[in-house]
């Protein structure tokens, strides 16, 4: 059991390293000198050189890469070029919004998709199945920012059930914060739930044809128990895989949705930093998001081990 876990930890570490190197390279090749952006077009060459030296931009690329990675590992994310404050502080503030938003979105998405997908598989070919598939088709076709706009229009303007454009923080307890995050989370969750419901339906349908499902029937178990305890358990493997993949889309979606709902989250920070050529913030936030995605995929791998005893012996 320990060996396969170590294997997966090792591969996550390698991915993390490759991701950081790639990110650094890409931002290195991109045009735009942060010092020039900070000082404007009229800057004198010696001021420019001084600022470049202050930012460490005159160092060789390899040294700067090592300094960046080394700093991140120690929690030192550098100073923002535009705000002149530690990037770590900027990020920490935004994380308290984006992480709950992402978790809430995943929660809503799975809470919708698993029952709907299983129901569609159980009622294969009947009206309930067609209904779920129609919902899934719509959810896949409609982009999340459009759903976001629609939700604002309906539930903040027409019926003012949820606030929009403000985030109260977590100081006043859980409820006000969750209320502010609910609509954006739904906007993020719906397209994902649509895909996930389809995957769940297909996976459950496939599993229902397996020999061990026939054995369960021959045992005299009820359809409900066969569906939930036997079929869904086996179908969870592909579902979790897709869930892990969807997380990276969730991160990308958060950038759009946070902007639409005017939420001061990580996505909005990244968006603003890109506009301001605040390369260090872009680099750090992107790296952090990459690390999240890698972490989630590691969790998916570990969930595999937990779910499927056949994998526990190690490759």
């Amino acid at each position: 059991m320990l060996r396969p876990i170590l294997q997966r930890l090792g591969s996550a570490a390698v991915t993390l390293f490759l991701g950081s190197a790639l990110l650094f390279l890409v931002l290195e090749v991109l045009p735009g000198d942060p010092a020039a952006v900070m000082l404007g077009l009229e800057a004198r060459p010696d001021t420019l050189a001084a600022v470049r030296a202050e930012l460490g931009l005159d160092q060789p690329a390899l040294l700067r890469y090592l300094a960046w990675v080394g700093g991140m590992i120690q929690g030192d994310f550098g100073l923002s070029y535009t705000y002149r404050v530690p990037v770590a502080d900027l990020i920490a503030e935004r994380l308290s919004l984006t992480v709950p938003l992402a978790l809430l979105a995943i929660l809503i998405s799975t809470a919708l998709a698993l029952p709907l997908g299983t129901l569609a598989a159980a009622k294969h070919g009947k009206a309930a199945d067609a209904g779920v598939m129609l919902f899934a088709q719509l959810g896949v076709a409609v982009p999340n920012f459009w759903i976001g706009l629609l939700l604002i229009l309906l539930f903040s303007l027409t019926w003012p059930l949820f606030p929009v454009g403000s985030f109260p923080g977590w100081g006043d307890g859980l409820l006000p914060g969750l209320r502010a995050l609910f609509l954006p989370a739904v906007a993020l969750a719906l397209p994902q739930a649509a895909i996930l419901a389809r995957v769940t339906r297909a996976a459950v349908l496939e599993v229902m044809g397996e020999d061990y499902i026939r054995t369960a029937r021959a045992k005299g178990l009820s359809n409900r128990r066969i569906l939930i305890r036997h079929a869904l358990r086996a179908a969870l493997l592909p579902v979790i895989t897709i869930l892990g993949l969807q997380f990276s889309f969730l991160v990308a979606g958060a950038i759009l949705v946070e902007n639409i709902f005017a939420l001061p989250g990580l996505g909005r920070l990244l968006y603003q930093a890109m506009n301001q050529r605040d390369v260090i913030v872009v680099k750090d936030v992107a790296m952090l998001l990459a690390a999240f995605v890698i972490l989630v995929n590691l969790l998916v791998d570990l969930a595999y081990l937990w779910l499927d005893p056949r994998l526990r012996r190690g490759a």
Binding site: K219, G220, S222, R229
Partner: protein
């Protein structure tokens, strides 16, 4: 206990899903403590027969006739009423021990689930009952194996677990569909011995489905031979195997590998449901096929058994006269019958 009366089964196999019969007018009976073998090639309909008894037929299948269990016609019962028979009255062991068990549940869970459902046991009592059952199917080291997943077990051990699952509802009838086909020869013998011992000890009826005459010869008392969805010969196992009367059973008999004797395969292949005509379905592969073979052959009694071949008496006579081979070459069984005489 189990009585099947002229069961006809159709599947939507025809063009544009038209129903085609895969089983026709099959009748059989199994009493408590009795072991019946059903023999036939792949495609003869024997697995569907087993699934029909449990009510687990594939979608689109239609059954006519009657399947009576203790007098109740199961075909006239609702799906929910039929579920009450599965596990509790009728247990089933499947062919593939590799795929018939859930890969993500421990064997203890899979057996315990049946015991909990049918016998209402929970907690420590349930665990004791599972261990007891594992000991009965002679799984080594049950205390440890109860927490094992199927992939950690050998094929023979998995089939023991499959048997324990089938027995978990304490049924009166056990259906075993090719229970030893996927196993090594030595393990086969052990599983067959186990099947025989368990059915004897518990007074169970056994319906053993197999394509292997050696397997049914081992443990069944009576035999039903299926060919292309029809019963062609039934009777006591020993008598049928010692003196097969239907040419198909004769062919099967000759196709059993034995040391020091050349194996004689039956020429041709089983006709698919789409290819089946009105006459005797074996005639295209039969060495004695002439004349009336083009007409349907019904099972009729002959001594202690029933046969569906109009030449059965002639065959028997030739066999007794000891010149079956010569008669076959001359293509003239009637002559033999007159010469040898039928007592």
């Amino acid at each position: 206990m189990l009585e099947i009366d002229r069961l006809t089964l159709t599947l939507p196999l025809g063009r544009t899903g038209a129903p085609l019969p895969v089983l026709e007018n099959v009748s059989l009976a199994v009493n408590r403590g009795e072991r019946l073998g059903i023999v036939g090639e792949s495609g003869s309909g024997k697995t569907l027969l087993a699934l029909a008894i449990l009510g687990l037929l594939p979608e689109g299948a239609r059954a006519e006739g009657a399947i009576r269990f203790d007098g109740v016609d199961l075909l006239r019962r609702s799906a929910e009423a039929r579920r009450a028979y599965r596990g509790r009255r009728i247990g089933m062991v499947f062919q593939e021990p590799m795929t018939a068990l859930h890969p993500m549940l421990t064997i203890g869970d899979q057996i315990g689930e049946g015991i909990a459902l049918h016998q209402g046991l929970r907690g420590a009592a349930l665990r004791r009952a599972v261990l007891e059952l594992l000991a009965q199917v002679r799984l080594p080291d049950p205390d440890r194996q109860i927490n094992a997943y199927p992939h950690a077990l050998s094929g023979g051990q998995r089939q023991r677990v499959g048997l324990a699952v089938a027995l978990s509802g304490n049924p009166n009838l056990l259906i075993a569909d090719e229970p030893t086909t996927a196993l090594d020869a030595t393990v086969q013998r052990e599983i067959l011995a186990l099947l025989r011992d368990l059915t004897e000890a518990r007074g169970l009826g056994l319906l053993l489905v197999s394509h292997d005459l050696g397997v049914v010869a081992h443990i069944t008392q009576r035999l039903l031979v299926l060919y292309a969805g029809q019963a062609v010969e039934t009777g006591p196992t020993l008598a049928l195997l010692e003196q097969p009367l239907h040419p198909y059973l004769r062919g099967l008999r000759a196709a059993v590998p034995r040391l020091g004797r050349a194996l004689t395969p039956i020429p041709g292949t089983l006709p698919t449901p789409q290819e089946r005509g009105p006459g005797c379905r074996f005639s295209s592969r039969c060495a004695w096929s002439i004349g009336p073979c083009a007409e349907a052959q019904a099972l009729r009694p002959l001594k202690a058994r029933t046969v569906a071949c109009w030449q059965a008496e002639s065959l028997q006579a030739c066999q007794q006269a000891g010149n079956l081979q010569a008669c076959q070459q001359a293509g003239n069984l009637q002559a033999c019958q007159q010469a040898g005489g039928l007592e």
